[in-house]
């Protein structure tokens, strides 16, 4: 079944707006209305101001690579044919403490040596054969 077997994210009441936006190829994050902190996953208390008033807000979708790794032995069914693939941790431009972890798509193997930290990246969306949609990073043009 191959790539069909990649894990499928399922929304909960807490993060439904995130996954519904992703389905429409839009990227929103949990955002504290009191102090403006963006978080990569929904919170109930803001760790910066302890506020509890949040909204879902769209950042620019641009970020910078904090780090990455290239996977040669996968532990997740569905990724066997993607090897070697990249996992990329990038901070969004709006909030240096907000890191989004995703794959870095569109980098051919012969260009792996050119990858480094601090490269600009942008959010893109991957529609998968199993019906799921996930946000992904791509190198900025």
């Amino acid at each position: 079944m191959g790539a069909e077997q990649k894990p499928v994210p399922v929304a909960t009441d807490e993060d439904r707006p995130y996954w519904e936006a992703v389905k429409e190829h839009k990227f929103v994050l949990h955002h504290c209305r009191t102090c403006g902190l963006y978080s990569s996953q929904p919170r109930i208390v803001c760790p910066k101001c302890h506020g509890e008033d949040f909204e879902w807000k769209a950042p620019s979708g641009r970020g910078k690579i904090h780090s990455y790794t290239i996977i040669y032995q996968t532990f997740t069914s569905g990724f066997e044919e993607d090897i070697p693939y990249i996992i990329c941790h990038a901070a969004i431009d709006e909030e240096p403490t907000c890191y989004i972890t995703a794959n870095l798509l569109g980098v051919p193997e012969e260009d792996f040596d050119k990858l480094t930290i601090d490269l600009p990246v942008v959010i893109d969306f991957e529609d998968r054969p199993n019906g799921s949609t996930v946000p992904q990073w791509r190198l900025a043009k």
Partner: protein, 415 residues
Amino acid sequence: MPPFPKGFEAKNKVAIIGAAHSQLGRRLERPTGALAVDACLAAIADAGLDVKDIDGVSNWPATDGQGVGPREGYNSAHVEWMVQGLGIEQVNWWQSGGGGNIASAVTTAMLAINSGICENVLVWRAMWQPRSGRGSGTRSAAELEAARTRPAPRVSDEAAYTAPYGIGGPGGFASSYMRYMKMYGAKRHHMAAYALAARHGGNNNPYSVFKDQILTYEDYMNARMIADPLCLFDCDMHVDGAAALVLTRADKVADMKQKPVYVTAYGSGGWDWRLRPPEEWQYASSGNIGRTLWAGTDMTPKDIQGCEFYDGYSPDIYWWLESMGFCGRGEAAEFIQNGMIERDGGLPVNTFGGNISEGRLHGMGHWVEAVLQVQGRADDKPGDGARQIKDVENMLVCTGMLAHGAGAILSKEPR
């Protein structure tokens, strides 16, 4: 923030007097619980005590204890089971699973003894890799076939943000190491110095699963990648086995069988690694352990003859060396060159092989080795000169970097 501690109240008040392993191996027939009992009985005997002398027990992690009896297990033999398994009659204090590492279990045992609530505490860690299913690492033909046709798993909450990207195994650690390399110019060949030093320890350690396997520089450099830059030999090895310690009040040690090992300094730290990016959380967690440890003692890194540093993955050694003050940030890759961390070097590290060349006991192997080194009995056979560091006064042991972790200086004399 409150100031760092000026003194660790329990220093010189607690001593480790027993340390032992069970058999360690790959795919042993012996169940988890039996291996854990083996290690505990050996540690109690090593201390010259009897089961009836134990009045405190401390373990990590807390689990449902599945399979600690005659059946196969998973990664732990829990406190309740051990009390029954050993037939301990009077338990004045017990602790199960606090914090995030075996360091938490050792630490709380020290504090409990110093509080006066108990005298002789047994601490153990048992590891066991299931033959199939969760955590097994290998799959039968039938399981592989089932995996090929299984529908995609549905994941939610935190897992929804990681599993769909094929993150697993060492992914997060590999990213931390990648950033370290990019930040400071470290190369893979630098790390060979650690992998080889650890293997030399493992080759001289009768318990090591790698006792008879030689690792060369070429083997290391040509090893297959798991998650770039982590290669096969940067990753630790699952084993079945257990190790245990017995701690007691330092004012009781005069009549003990073994030379006491005093806990003379202590530091701890912790961080929620899920909310910090790779590499930052390693420095945050190990950095706090270093600051609290040195703030509470007059000793300095110059007083340390050797270190036992947790190494689930080899780059952990870099963060430990830097955060514990042996070299500056970004300098560890150069620091470990030219034999520096070999047994006869300036700062021996993981003389028993570490996780990567003894086997993964989640840090308990490190504590046992630090004790043996301070007591001067780390050689395979007394006097064979294989593993013992010369003239040890103080060893530094640090385990736990993910969530709660701790470090301690273990010394021959009170300091």
